[in-house]
């Protein structure tokens, strides 16, 4: 075991897969010579050379289109989309082309590709560089979406994404890049479509994603002091979704809360809540609660942004209130 930062885990993840498979290529804006604007890809150019680790122009349609075409012709490419907000300038390639091509061609075209992207707020960048857009991707049939919340998951889920024969979007909460965690030695490979129970509890199930995971764990510890025993699930994978783990937990606790960084409408938690309502209605002892960012663009000022995104204290308070 070694302690790594999340940003170190990103470069280790990419290196692990590029070392293993010569058909893995990595492109993006400022990813090679500069090592990434978040310093998540340092050392890759030196290790794998300028053909496999390549800087692109600021042309998100070209970047995403290029990895799609390359995946159609024998590579397993990985692209970095610097900020997930930039989905908005290449969404045609992702939503109309990459997501639909396998189905439209009745399986003739496989697209084993990965798009990694820095997502979410907490870094005072303002509304156009802070969005949580995992829900955009989740809404399109044909895209797999994972959100690692810690360094070990970053490596394991990224490896699983690269090895998966379908397009996968790896959503990295940028506020976590400096966070640290233990990572096993040697190759780390995880599984798409698997949630993880991080804290066992019997009173309430809290399902969280990405940057909301450590805050939810912190909230659960604080709730324990008030005699509330919360179970915390890191959802990890939106598509495919491990509904089984969530439903089993709700069956045990009888209460369900989602913690989402995205704005309220159509967040991932709405879908998960509807699954719980449909499949476990008679196990519920109270209403399902969604804790989200308000339905606003994120403001830049730290005082305002901190008010908007659910904090550990806010999560604990809201969960506590639902137990009354």
């Amino acid at each position: 075991m070694a302690e790594l930062t999340y940003r170190e885990a990103v470069s280790r993840a990419i290196a692990q897969e590029m070392e293993r498979d010569p058909s893995v290529y990595f492109i993006g804006e400022d990813v090679a010579a500069a090592g990434g604007v978040f310093k998540t890809t340092e050392g890759l150019l030196e290790r794998f050379g300028p053909k496999r680790v390549r800087d692109t122009p600021i042309s998100e349609q070209a970047i995403i289109g290029a990895i799609m075409g390359a995946a159609m012709n024998g590579l397993r490419p990985v692209a970095e989309l610097m900020f997930s907000d930039f989905f908005a300038v290449c969404w045609d390639l992702i939503a109309n082309q990459i997501a639909k091509t396998r189905y439209m061609t009745n399986g003739q075209v496989a697209l084993p590709l990965v798009i990694r992207t820095a997502n979410g707020g907490g870094v005072r960048f303002g509304a156009q560089h802070s969005q949580s857009v995992e829900g955009w991707a989740m809404a399109i049939p044909g895209l797999k979406v994972v959100v690692p919340s810690n360094p070990a998951d970053m490596i394991g889920l990224f490896a699983a994404a690269v090895r998966d024969p379908d397009p996968v979007i790896v959503v990295e909460p940028k506020v976590l890049y400096a966070s640290k965690g233990e990572v096993p030695d040697g190759e780390v490979v995880d599984r798409l479509g698997s949630a993880r129970v991080l804290r066992r509890g019997s009173d309430v199930t809290i399902a969280a994603l990405g940057a909301m995971v450590p805050r939810s764990v912190e909230a659960a510890e604080s709730l324990a002091g008030d005699g509330i025993d919360a179970e915390v699930i890191d959802v990890r994978s939106l598509v495919p979704l491990d509904a089984t783990t969530i439903l089993e937990s709700v069956g045990k606790t009888g209460r369900f809360v989602t913690v989402e960084e995205s704005p309220r409408l159509c967040g991932w938690g709405a879908e998960v809540a509807s699954i719980v309502a449909e499949d476990r209605f008679f196990d519920l002892d109270g209403p399902i609660v969604r804790i989200t960012t308000p339905h606003i663009p994120l403001p830049a000022a730290d005082a305002l942004e901190d008010l908007a995104i659910p904090s550990a204290a806010a999560i604990a308070e809201r969960v506590g209130a639902t137990m009354d």
Partner: protein
């Protein structure tokens, strides 16, 4: 503009291109009839009058080369070698369609023949074609990628992003603008800053401006041979503007009344197929050989139509297949 003086192709190649154009024309006219009969639904975008662009390039390419085209893509897919019956069946929404009925007229794909898809969002396939060429370059496969697009594409961002990347990475891709004078219902000249929408942009990317008579299959072939082989040898990408004309409307729903009658008349007089027939006869091709091509093309279209009509409708189970590589469409446990 490149026009023919002395054709570089031998008689066999030229007769082959004539056969391609005949098959393409008869296939699309049949598709038009089947529409009117209600056997093809939805929409379709015919390339009647533009066949010489497709045939001139198709005659140039090798089996492993890859072609990307647009929703006006019946002809490119067919001339790449896709089986005609399966194409017609796809238009008719049958299970024996080339995409099992899931693609339809605007999404014809036959990977086995290097027809890598018809793309229905304008410009999307420009960077995708660059990516396929990038993989060819890295894997040293010797493949060339040819990407066909319409004049309307030259005003969308993906066109410019793709050309820049293709040049910077020196990719083996030939971009071919089929300038049929109209972007959907609007004359391209009315909404474009330059007279030649593709060729006049070439210099912005350090590319040679290439304009070819897209109704002259010998001229297209000559241009294709030069640029495809240059790309294959590592000479980098090319951008071609082929001047041609869409004899019909944008789609099934468009009677194309916005076009001046004299313009339509002038271009119909320049129909690439009868003109080429005359040229072949003048250059000594036996009339019998030409007649045989025409007869066989019609027989092929007849057989394809019967094959398509005989096909079953897709099984209801097909609705949920092939979203994922495991063959299914499950999204939750």
């Amino acid at each position: 503009m490149t026009t023919t003086t002395e054709p570089i192709a031998d008689e066999q190649v030229r007769l082959g291109m004539y056969r391609m154009m005949q098959e393409a024309r008869l296939f699309e006219k049949r598709a038009q009839d089947l529409f009117l009969e209600g056997l093809i639904k939805g929409t379709s975008h015919l390339a009647l009058g533009q066949e010489a662009v497709a045939a001139g390039f198709a005659a140039t390419l090798l089996p492993d080369d890859l072609v990307y085209c647009t929703y006006r893509g019946h002809v490119h897919t067919l001339l790449r070698g896709a089986p005609m019956g399966a194409l017609m069946a796809e238009l008719m929404g049958r299970a024996n369609g080339i995409c099992g009925g899931k693609g339809g007229s605007m999404h014809l794909t036959d990977v086995a023949h290097g027809a890598m898809g018809s793309y229905a969002i304008v410009g999307a396939h420009m960077p995708i074609a660059a990516g396929a060429a990038w993989a060819a370059q890295e894997r040293e496969t010797g493949q060339v990628v040819v990407c066909f697009f319409g004049d309307g594409t030259t005003n969308i961002g993906a066109f410019h992003e793709a050309l820049n990347l293709a040049v910077v990475w020196r990719l083996p891709v030939v971009y071919v603008c089929e300038n049929n004078l109209y972007m959907e219902y609007t004359a391209i000249g009315d909404v474009t800053a330059v007279a030649n929408p593709a060729a006049d942009r070439a210099s912005a990317y350090g590319l040679e401006p290439v304009v070819v008579d897209g109704n002259d299959v010998d001229a297209v072939y000559e241009t294709a041979v030069r640029l495809v082989e240059r790309a294959r040898e590592g000479g980098g990408p090319a951008l071609v503007e082929a001047k041609t004309y869409r004899q019909g409307g944008h789609s099934r729903a468009d009677p194309a009344k916005y076009r001046p009658a004299d313009e339509v008349e002038a271009w119909l007089a320049r129909d690439p197929i009868p003109a080429y027939r005359d040229r072949l006869l003048t250059s000594g091709v036996e009339p019998g050989a030409i007649d045989r091509v025409e007869r066989e093309a019609l027989e092929l279209v007849d057989r394809a139509t019967e094959e398509a009509k005989a096909g079953p409708y897709p099984d209801p189970e097909a609705l949920g297949t092939e979203l994922w590589a495991d063959g299914g469409s499950a999204w939750r446990s």
